[in-house]
Amino acid sequence: MRKSDYWTPAPRRSLLDAMQTTDSIVRAGGHDFLLAFYKALRSVKLYPSENDQVQKAIQTLGGLADALCVTEGQLEVRIAGEYIHINTVRLRFDLDNYAVFFHVLATLRRCGIGTLTFSPGVEHAEWQSLLSHLVAFSEREGMPDLSGLWDRLAQDGVTHLALLPPSEHDAPLADSRQAKEVAKRTYEQCIAVTRDVMTAVRQGRTISVKKVKRAVQTTVDQVAKNEQAIVGMTTVREWDELGAIHAANVCILSIAIGKRIGLTKLRLYDLGFTALLHDLGKSRIPVDVLEQAESGNDEHRAASESHPWQGVLGLFGLRGYGAIPYRGMIVSYEHHLRPDLSGFPLTLEPRRLSLYSRIVAVANHYDAGTSHYGLNRRPDELLQELVKDGEGAYDPAIVKAFINLMGLYPVGTCVILDTYDVGIVHAPSADPTQLDRPVVRVLCTADGERSNPGRLVDLTMRDEAGHFEHSILKTTDPADYSIVPYDYFI
């Protein structure tokens, strides 16, 4: 597209000028600005506009924006993929700014904003207008309404800022259907690749590592950009002979946990790769032995429990690797070991379990426990079990990260609301402080009427008196209501 086709907020500063300002100054200023932006958004959401806290938050925010404008000439906040850019500098979220980063990112996305440009001298009233409209528009259902937002700002006389939609590349998927479609394609590809690998190992064939890489890379991209939809896919918990669905689920959940704890994109790939192949050893064990192990045959259980070390040998057998997949081998060996080295396989030397093994162990336990071929437990029960056992069997910090990812009622959990509506958890709350208040898809109303696809109810919403409009009364078995959770995610 030609330059003249665009709305141009201000002349672009020369590259030389941009380079003269060190990235680190902008990065530090950018982080401070985002934190202030987050605090101001929350203050505006929680308190009336004349409240001292709101006024103070806006003042701080304005000061930081002015400082960046003075240094850089203008301040541009731009969303690109899973990143936020401040002018030309890409900010990377970290563990301690995760909530801030993703709240701002989600708010801008829900309003349909790709770029927010501030000219020097934004007035206090302009900030107030922007923040309150951002809060309001981000809570609206349906498609983002950028032009509506822009109209409101114009009516309020906002002149020092400009809004642009995301570039085509960064635009959020138009609707949840499209998001699901993309996530489903990735998921299916992941399963196909895993089946291929498992079959290849069974048949002694070589595999295409390239395909595995592509599948994991795409999954990482999806977790970064489309987390809700791809995590929703893990509600598919059907039996397949090769364990490919389980492998794909563990891969997605592990990457999502990794994202929560601040792993970089390339490290998420490392983690995803190990997670996808964590059960490779099972492909060296006859299927009937695996099946009978599930039904309690001791001899077969012993054979089945050999899969961690069989996986190590299997990974050595894979041809085509430029490098030996050490991490994959370690995770394969350790994913059933507890930190005190109980579990299996038996070990001789003391070892400290890899971080990735501990992440995969949590994802594996959750997915295997909730799967139809496994214990078929309710997701929330499994989660509570993880919390209780966390001290001994699982890394408590990783369990916390997992709960932050899934909420206390994981996606796919069937719940009865205090309105006696029955539904399934669609997504965790966007507000990290409201882990027990997910978004629920109501599938059976209180009067017994079924609806498909059902309406979404955000349990964080309050009525005019400040009370929550809906709460979860209890979790239940979806089968009792003829509900198959994954039907609503694929």
């Binding site: 601040g262 070390w309 085509g320 030996i324 932050n404 209180a446 003829s482």
Partner: protein, 560 residues
């Protein structure tokens, strides 16, 4: 395309110029190293080609066809020769459009070029292609659209197709009512109850600090060592013969891989672990024992040494002395020669030191392995081998050493004498006996000294012939003195008379020797050290020649 719809010329010119600069930089990157001036110039030219484009465009989106880059449907770079084509490199791996945005010229354009070059070299079964490489590049200013090539049709996940039971409205209401009632009777919100306050699930500062530390630790781990430990655990704990055979096979392959990648530490660790396991001997069958014992000898396979030596030379500071010794301790005859040959090519002093020390260690443990090195033509290697033979007292090598006493290079014969001297065996002394007649003065003296140091009396007649009968005429003082002293040390009282005769300058048919020779005779008498020798020296201690007089004084002092 009609003239009206054709993009503006100035846009096309700027983009075409940029494309030409890109191709030149790509070619230069193919031909030259990153620090090459030519390459750097082409890169600068490429960078300079971007700003004119950014004056006209916010970003540049190029369509990628089989043989051209297109901008707004107009070719801006056409390349017919696929072998060298930038466009084809992108196209063949599925890239269909490429978008560059300002800032790409800083670093990412180099990353793009490098990814394309790497992708070109990859075979179809390689673990990467351009798409995986570009993804790993994590570019901010480069976007691309692609088609997935060669992907199998993935099976589709289908909805369950489950349908609600008939008459379900009442049933649902009833079930909900039952569940809620049960819950209330059972004590309230039991199944939905959360065991802890919500705050407990938040990642607090301590969790964050802990996780940060864990992430750092994860990437500091020695993964290879970890996997090796796992393999040895499997080998020890799994008693199934087939499993053990497989693990040993993997260890063999692993060893070769580690050698190939120059992972010195890994190789050394594997060798140590093998030794430890063999020490524990966990009931391994003979075939397994044999195979494990053979692993260290794989260092001697053709080509095995090259990457190891390269690592040793290039990352010397990271290399541990013990690892190097461990690695090379099974060097055989042939590889020891290779290793010795490589010493002179090593660029760092520490690398040479470590390698030499390692070879020395092998030579001391197994002197016979130097045999092949004593047969090479390369004189530098030969000299190194001889020094090592000397230091390792290589008795088994005497026949090879003896053969070198006829080498044309004086320095080599001299080193051979040292090595034979160190061997100390009767056979070695016999060989040294031969060297006393060597044409080179230094070799003769060295050989004679070695023999005298070991009180090798069989050489006495030979020394006597030189010293007494021929009087060492024509020899210089540096040679005369040790020969006379040697004669004194070996002859004992029998030597007093002939030496006294020389010292006095008397004797039948003998003309008077020069002062130097007589001084040497005096010193030789001092070496004999008996009362007869002392008497002889006393009788001439008033010699008029200062040189002789001094020598007599010194000899008398030595006798005491």
């Amino acid at each position: 395309m009609d003239q009206a719809s054709r993009p503006p010329t100035k846009h096309l010119e700027a983009i075409e110029h940029l494309m030409r600069a890109l191709v030149k930089a790509y070619r230069a990157a193919q031909l030259y190293r990153a620090n090459n001036l030519m390459y750097r110039e082409t890169l600068e030219a490429l960078r300079a080609a971007f700003p004119p484009v950014w004056e006209l465009l916010e970003e540049l989106t190029l369509e990628v066809s089989e043989d051209a880059f297109l901008w707004e449907d107009t070719p801006v770079l056409s390349e017919r020769n696929r072998g060298e084509s930038v466009v084809w490199t992108l196209f063949k791996d599925g890239i269909r459009s490429l978008t560059l945005s300002p800032g790409v010229e800083d670093r990412e354009i180099v990353g793009l070029i490098r990814a394309m070059l790497r992708a070109r070299e990859l075979g179809t079964d390689a673990p990467d292609d351009l798409l995986t490489l570009l993804w790993q590049g994590d570019f901010q200013h480069i976007r691309y659209a692609f088609v997935e090539l060669g992907q199998d049709e993935a099976p589709q996940i289908q909805p369950s197709g489950a349908s609600p039971e008939p008459g379900s409205e009442d049933t649902i209401q009833q079930r909900v009512a039952e569940e809620v009632t049960d819950m209330l009777i059972g004590g309230g919100l039991s199944s939905a109850g959360i065991p802890q306050p919500l705050e407990a699930f938040r990642l607090d500062d301590a969790d964050i600090a802990y996780l940060r530390g864990e992430i750092d630790r994860e990437y500091q781990r020695d993964l290879g060592a970890n996997v090796m430990t796992i393999l040895f655990e499997i080998l020890e704990l799994q008693t199934n013969t087939a499993v053990r055979t497989e693990v040993i096979f993997i260890l063999e392959e692993f060893f070769t891989h580690l050698l190939g990648t120059g992972d010195l530490r890994g190789v050394a660790l594997l060798l140590r672990k093998t030794e430890t396991l063999l020490g524990r001997a966990p009931k391994l069958i003979p075939d397994h024992l044999k195979a494990l014992r053979a692993i260290p000898r794989r260092i001697n396979e053709p080509g095995a040494l090259d990457p190891v030596l390269q690592t040793l030379d290039s990352a010397t500071d990271l290399v541990d002395e013990e690892d190097v010794a461990e690695l090379f301790k099974e060097l055989d005859h042939e590889m020891l020669v290779t290793m010795l040959s490589s010493l002179s090519q090593m660029t760092t002093r520490r690398a040479r030191f470590l390698a030499r020390q390692a070879i020395q260690h092998v030579a001391q443990e197994h002197p016979d392995r130097l045999a092949r090195a004593l047969e090479v033509d390369d004189e530098a290697v030969l000299l190194d081998a001889l020094h090592m033979a000397a230091e390792s007292q290589a008795t088994p090598l005497v026949p090879q050493l003896g053969a070198l006493l006829v080498h044309t290079n004086d320095e080599i014969r001299r080193a051979t004498v040292d090595a034979l001297g160190a061997a100390e065996s009767p056979e070695a002394l016999d060989q040294l006996d031969r060297a006393v007649d060597d044409q080179d003065h230094d070799v003769r003296v060295a050989a004679m000294q070695q023999l005298v140091d070991r009180r090798h009396r069989p050489v006495l007649p030979k020394i006597e012939a030189v010293v007494i009968h021929r009087g060492m005429r024509g020899a210089d003082l540096r040679e005369k003195m040790p020969f006379f002293e040697a004669y004194g040390l070996l002859a004992g009282d029998k030597g007093v008379e002939p030496l006294f005769a020389i010292l006095q300058g008397t004797g039948l048919f003998r003309r008077k020797d020069d002062a130097e020779t007589r001084a040497c005779a005096a010193l030789a008498l001092g070496k004999i050290g008996t009362s007869a020798a002392r008497t002889a020296l006393h009788s001439v201690h008033q010699s008029k020649e200062p040189l002789v007089r001094n020598a007599i004084s010194r000899a008398l002092k030595e006798i005491g």
